[in-house]
C-alpha cells in the first residue's frame, strides 16, 4: 500500500515540478536566459512560500523512503543495475532536482525581502531627521519664550510705596486713577513717576539739613573755645584748695593723680589696677594698690602710634642679610641687644600690698613685658615681728619659691604665652627660666589677673579682660594670704623644731597621750637629690609624689638605742596638700616602711589619717602634729616589740602604753591608734 502511495506522490511531484527540466534546458541554450530569469522571478511572485515548504518536506520524505527501499532491495540481494533499483534512482534524481529548485527560490525570496526592508528603513530615516529638526526648533522657541518671561526690569529693585498709599498720597495728575486702575503696566509707570518726584523732594531736604548742621557745628566750636579758656582758672582754684584737702585728710587729689598715671599703664596692668582697686574697696580693706615707675617714659611710650610692626619686619630683613653675608663678629652683640629689647618691661609697674592679720605684709610687684605680652610678679614679705633665723626655714620665705604652685602645677618657670617660643628662637633665648631672677615669675594666675588669656585647651571657656580678672581676683587673694600665713606659721614651727621642741597647741593636746618618751633629735633641710638617694623613699618618687617644687626635710626621732629617720616631702601648697613621711628605723638592724609592715602602718598613720591631725582650721599645725604622732607611734612600736625569750635581762623599753592587743590581723600590726578620753591604743 505505502509503496503505491509513494509512487503516486512522486509522480504528482514530477508533474508539478516541470520547471526544473525547463531550467536545465534553459541553461543549456544560453540566449533566452534573461527571459527565463524574469519568468522565474514572476513565478516567484505567483508561488506561496508555505506551499513550497510543504513541497520541500514531501520531497525529503519521499527521498528518504526511496533510499530505504533501495537499501531493502540491495539487502535482499538485488543486483547492481537491476530495473527496480534503477527506477527508484531515477525518481530520487527527480526529487533532487526539485529540491534544488526550491532552494533557489528560497534564496531569491530572501534577497527580495532584504531589499524591501532596506528601502523601508531609508524612508523611516528621512522622516526621523525631519522630526529631529522640528523638535529642535520647538526647543529653541521655548527657550526664547522663557527668556522673555524671565526678563527683569530695573524698577523691581526699587522699594516703591504700596498701592493704597500711592493712591492716597499722589496727586491725581500723576496717579490718573481711571487709566491705571485696570492697567497694571500704566500703574507701575505712574508709581515710578511718583517715586521720582518724592526723591527729588528728599534730596532738597537733605541739602537744607546739611546747611543747618554746619551752622550748629560752628556755634559748638565757639562754645568749646570758651570752655577751654576756663581751664587755667580752675587749675588755680584746685592748687589753692590743696592745703584744705590735706587738712581735712580727703585724698581726692592723690586718687586722681593715680588714675591719671594709670592711664599710661599698659592694658593688662590697667585691668589689674582697676580690678584690684575695685576688690580692695569692696571686699578687702587690707589690700593697697600703688603705681611706681617712670611716668614720663611711659607717656613717651604711649604717645607715638606704635609702628613696631615695621621695626620688626626691618629687623627680620636685617637678620636675613646678616645670615647671607655671614658677618659673624657683630652678631653676638646685636643678639644681646635684641634679647634685652625683647625682654624689656614697661616702665610702670604695679605694687600690691596685702596685709595679714598678724601685721605681716606681702608685697607683690607686677611687671608687664611689652614685647612678650606677658606679666610677671616679684614678691617680698615683710613681717611685723623680727623672725629669729631658723636655718631650715631659709627657703620658706624666699621670693623664688614663695608663690610656687599657688594653683596646681603653676610653677611660673616657663612663659605661658605660646607665641614667645618663636620669639625666643629668633634671638636665641633657650629658656625663660634663666631670666626669672631679673624679670620675676610669669605665673598663670598673674596673667589671669591681668586679663590675659592664653588658651591651651580648645574646650576652655574663653574670657578676656576685666571679666577674666574679676573671676579669679577673690580666690587668688585668698590663696595669696593663706600662703603667706602658712609659710609664716611654718617658719615659727621650724625655729622650735630645730631646738628639738615639737610645738603642740592646746587645741591638739587630746590627740596625743600625756607622756611621750620618743624625742625629736634633729630637723634639717635636705635637697631633692639627697631625698631621692635615700633607699626608703623610692616608692614615693616612683609614685610621682616627690616633685621639683617641693621642699624636703629630714626628721630624726630617737628613743634609747632606736633611731627613726623620716624623710619629709613638703608641698608648696601646704597645708592643702599634706606633708608625706617615709620612715626608716635603725634598731636591731635596719628596717624601712618598704619592708616592715608596722613601719608602713606608721607611715599611713601620719600620711593617710592626717585629717585627725589637722587641728584648728586652716591646719597650720598639721606638720607638728604629724611629727608628734610619729613619736607616739615609735613608742608603741618599741614597747610592743616581742621580747626574745632567749635573751635574759630587763626589757629596754618597758610597756607603758595601754594596749588592748599587741598584734592583730594577718600581718600582725601593732595598735597605733590613740583613743583620747580612755587613753588606750587600739587598731585601725
Amino acid at each position: 500500500m505505502s509503496d503505491a502511495l509513494k509512487k503516486r506522490k512522486a509522480k504528482v511531484l514530477r508533474n508539478e515540478g516541470g520547471t526544473p527540466e525547463m531550467m536545465k534546458r534553459g541553461r543549456g541554450e544560453g540566449d533566452p536566459q534573461d527571459v527565463r530569469v524574469y519568468s522565474e522571478e514572476v513565478e516567484l511572485d505567483g508561488r506561496d512560500p508555505e506551499q513550497d515548504y510543504l513541497q520541500y518536506k514531501e520531497s525529503c520524505e519521499s527521498l528518504a523512503t526511496l533510499m530505504s527501499e533501495i537499501q531493502d532491495l540491495k539487502a535482499n540481494g538485488a543486483k547492481e543495475g537491476c530495473a527496480e533499483v534503477e527506477q527508484r534512482r531515477m525518481q530520487s534524481c527527480i526529487h533532487f532536482m526539485n529540491l534544488k529548485k526550491l532552494n533557489r527560490l528560497a534564496h531569491m525570496r530572501l534577497k527580495r525581502g532584504r531589499d524591501q526592508t532596506h528601502e523601508a528603513k531609508q524612508r523611516v530615516d528621512v522622516l526621523h531627521l525631519q522630526l529631529q529638526n522640528l523638535l529642535y526648533e520647538v526647543l529653541h522657541l521655548q527657550k526664547e519664550i522663557s527668556k522673555c518671561l524671565e526678563f527683569k526690569s530695573k524698577h523691581e529693585e526699587i522699594d516703591l510705596v504700596s498701592e493704597d498709599e500711592f493712591y492716597q498720597e499722589a496727586p491725581s495728575e500723576i496717579s490718573r486713577p481711571h487709566h491705571t486702575k485696570n492697567d497694571p503696566h500704566q500703574l507701575t509707570l505712574a508709581r515710578l513717576d511718583w517715586e521720582l518726584e518724592q526723591r527729588k523732594r528728599l534730596a532738597e531736604k537733605y541739602k537744607e539739613s546739611q546747611a543747618t548742621k554746619e551752622k550748629i557745628q560752628k556755634s559748638i566750636e565757639v562754645k568749646k573755645e570758651h570752655l577751654t579758656s576756663l581751664q587755667p582758672g580752675l587749675n588755680a582754684i584746685m592748687q589753692a584748695s590743696l592745703p584744705v584737702q590735706q587738712y581735712l585728710s580727703m585724698p581726692f587729689e592723690q586718687a586722681q593723680k593715680q588714675t591719671e598715671i594709670a592711664r599710661h599703664l599698659p592694658p593688662p596692668l590697667y585691668v589689674l589696677f582697676v580690678q584690684a582697686n575695685a576688690y580692695g574697696q569692696a571686699c578687702d580693706k587690707n589690700l593697697c594698690v600703688s603705681i611706681s615707675g617712670d611716668v614720663d617714659e611711659a607717656k613717651a611710650l604711649s604717645k607715638p602710634p606704635e609702628d613696631s610692626q615695621d621695626d620688626e619686619s626691618d629687623s627680620d630683613a636685617e637678620e636675613e642679610q646678616e645670615k647671607t653675608k655671614r658677618r659673624r663678629p657683630t652678631t653676638g652683640g646685636q643678639l644681646d641687644d635684641k634679647r634685652r629689647e625683647m625682654l624689656k618691661r614697661h616702665p610702670l609697674s604695679l605694687c600690691l600690698d596685702l596685709k595679714c592679720k598678724d601685721g605681716s605684709i606681702l608685697h607683690l610687684f607686677f611687671y608687664y613685658l611689652m614685647n612678650l605680652n606677658i606679666m610677671t610678679v616679684k614678691t617680698k614679705v615683710s613681717t611685723a615681728t623680727d623672725l629669729n633665723a631658723a636655718i631650715s626655714a631659709g627657703d620658706l620665705l624666699k621670693a623664688d619659691t614663695l608663690l610656687s604652685c599657688l594653683y596646681t602645677n603653676d610653677q611660673g618657670r616657663e612663659t605661658p604665652n605660646p607665641a614667645n617660643r618663636y620669639q625666643f628662637d629668633k634671638v636665641g633665648i633657650v629658656c625663660f627660666a634663666d631670666y626669672l631672677e631679673e624679670l620675676g615669675h610669669p605665673y598663670t594666675w598673674v596673667q589671669t589677673l591681668g586679663g590675659l588669656h592664653f588658651p591651651r585647651d580648645a574646650s576652655e571657656a574663653v574670657r578676656v579682660g576685666n571679666s577674666l580678672s574679676a573671676s579669679q581676683m577673690e580666690s587668688t587673694m585668698k590663696l595669696l594670704r593663706g600662703r603667706v600665713q602658712s609659710r609664716l606659721a611654718l617658719h615659727k614651727q621650724f625655729a622650735s623644731l630645730e631646738h628639738s621642741i615639737i610645738p603642740v597647741s592646746s587645741e591638739c593636746q587630746h590627740l596625743f597621750p600625756a607622756k611621750i618618751m620618743s624625742r625629736l633629735a634633729r630637723w634639717t633641710t635636705i635637697t631633692q637629690e639627697e631625698y631621692m638617694a635615700l633607699p626608703y623613699t623610692r616608692h614615693v618618687s616612683d609614685a610621682g609624689l616627690a616633685k621639683e617644687t617641693d621642699l624636703y626635710f629630714m626628721a630624726v626621732v630617737e628613743r634609747g638605742t632606736a633611731r627613726l629617720q623620716s624623710a619629709v616631702v613638703l608641698s608648696p601648697r601646704y597645708p592643702e596638700i599634706s606633708p608625706l613621711f617615709s620612715l626608716c628605723l635603725s634598731w636591731k638592724g635596719e628596717r624601712s616602711g618598704r619592708t616592715d609592715d608596722n613601719l608602713r602602718a606608721m607611715e599611713s598613720e601620719v600620711n593617710v589619717f592626717k585629717n585627725e591631725l589637722q587641728g584648728p582650721r586652716p591646719g597650720h599645725q598639721l606638720l607638728t602634729n604629724q611629727i608628734s604622732r610619729l613619736c607616739v607611734c615609735l613608742d608603741v612600736y618599741l614597747e610592743t616589740e616581742r621580747q626574745d625569750d632567749g635573751v635574759e635581762g630587763p626589757r629596754e623599753f618597758p610597756r607603758e602604753k595601754m594596749c588592748l592587743r599587741t598584734v592583730r590581723g594577718p600581718n600582725r600590726l601593732k595598735p597605733f591608734k590613740y583613743n583620747h578620753p580612755q587613753g588606750f591604743f587600739s587598731h585601725r
Partner: protein, 323 residues
Amino acid sequence: MGPVELLHMSVFSQSFSPCGRFLAAGNNYGEIGVFSLSAALSPDATALSQKPVLTFTAHEGPVFSLLSTDCHLLSAGNGEISAWSWSELIKKNVKAVWTKRPNYKSSLEIPEINAMTMNPRDNSLVVGGGDNNVHILDLEHGTFKSVLQGHSDYIHCVSVREREGEILSGGEDGAVRMWDSRTGRSVHCIEVHKYESCARPQVGKWISCLTTDSDWMLCGGGPSLSLWHLRSLSPTSVFPLSGCQRQAAFHQDMILAVGEGPFVSHCLLGGEVKAQIPCTPQSLNTLQLNTNSTEHRVLTAAGSSDHIDVFTNLSYRAFSLSF
C-alpha cells in the same frame, strides 16, 4: 582615692568568681575591687582594663578574707561576715545579701576575722579570728552552730580536711589544732615552735599559714614553712625560706608560698627552693590560683601595694592589676 592612699594600700585577700572571669580583691580600707580577668587577659587589653570594673566599700575595717561559694562572694571585715551575690556584683549592684556577726564576748574592741573556709560536707563556714575561737556558721540555716575553743591567742588561719571531717586552725599562740568537725572537740594540738627543725625563736612562734592536702599539711609563720605528715604528726621537710610566710598552696608536684619579701617562692616537696619569682609588692599577703576557668587560668599574688600581680605562666609576672 588619692595618690597617698594608694601608696599606703595593702591587699589582704582575693577570690575568683565561680565563672572564673572575675577576681575580687579586698584591701586595708575595707574596699573590695572587682577586676575583669577576661578584659585584662584579652589581646586588646588597655591600661584601663587593669583597673577594677567595680570598687565598693564592704566593711569598716580591712577585708582580711574573701571566699566564693557557688553564687556568693563572702567577705570578712571587722567582726562581721557579708555575702554578696556574684551575679549582682557583675551587674554593678552593690547590696549585701546578708551580714552576720559571730557572738563575741569582749566588747572593747571588735575582734577581726582573719580566715574563712568552706566545709562542703555539711555546707558550713569555718571562721577564725581575733577572739581566739573558731566559729562555725551553718549556711543552710544562717546560724552559728558551734564554737571551737582552745587557742590561747588569736587565730590566723583555718583549713578543712573534708574526707576525715577535720578542721585545722593555726594561731598566734604557735599551735596548730585539729578539731573533729562533728563533736567540736580538739583532737590534736601540734606546737610547731617546739620542733627544733622548724623553730625560729628569733622570729616568733605564730602560725600564719596553713594548708592541707589529703594526709599532708603545710604550715609556717614564725617557724619556717614545713611539710607535715598528718598520720604520723611529724615534719617531713622544712623549707629554707627567710621571713614569715603568709600563704602557701599545693600546686601539682610543687609548693607555692608567699610572705615577707617581694617574690613568689616555688618549692619542691623534698625541701628545696626551686625558684623565687620577683613581684611588685615588697611583701605579699595572698596568693590564688584560678581553677574555675581553663581559659583564664592564672596565678595572682598581692600584698603591701595597690598592685595585684598576675602570672599567666608560673615563671614570670605577666602584668599587674591595680586599684
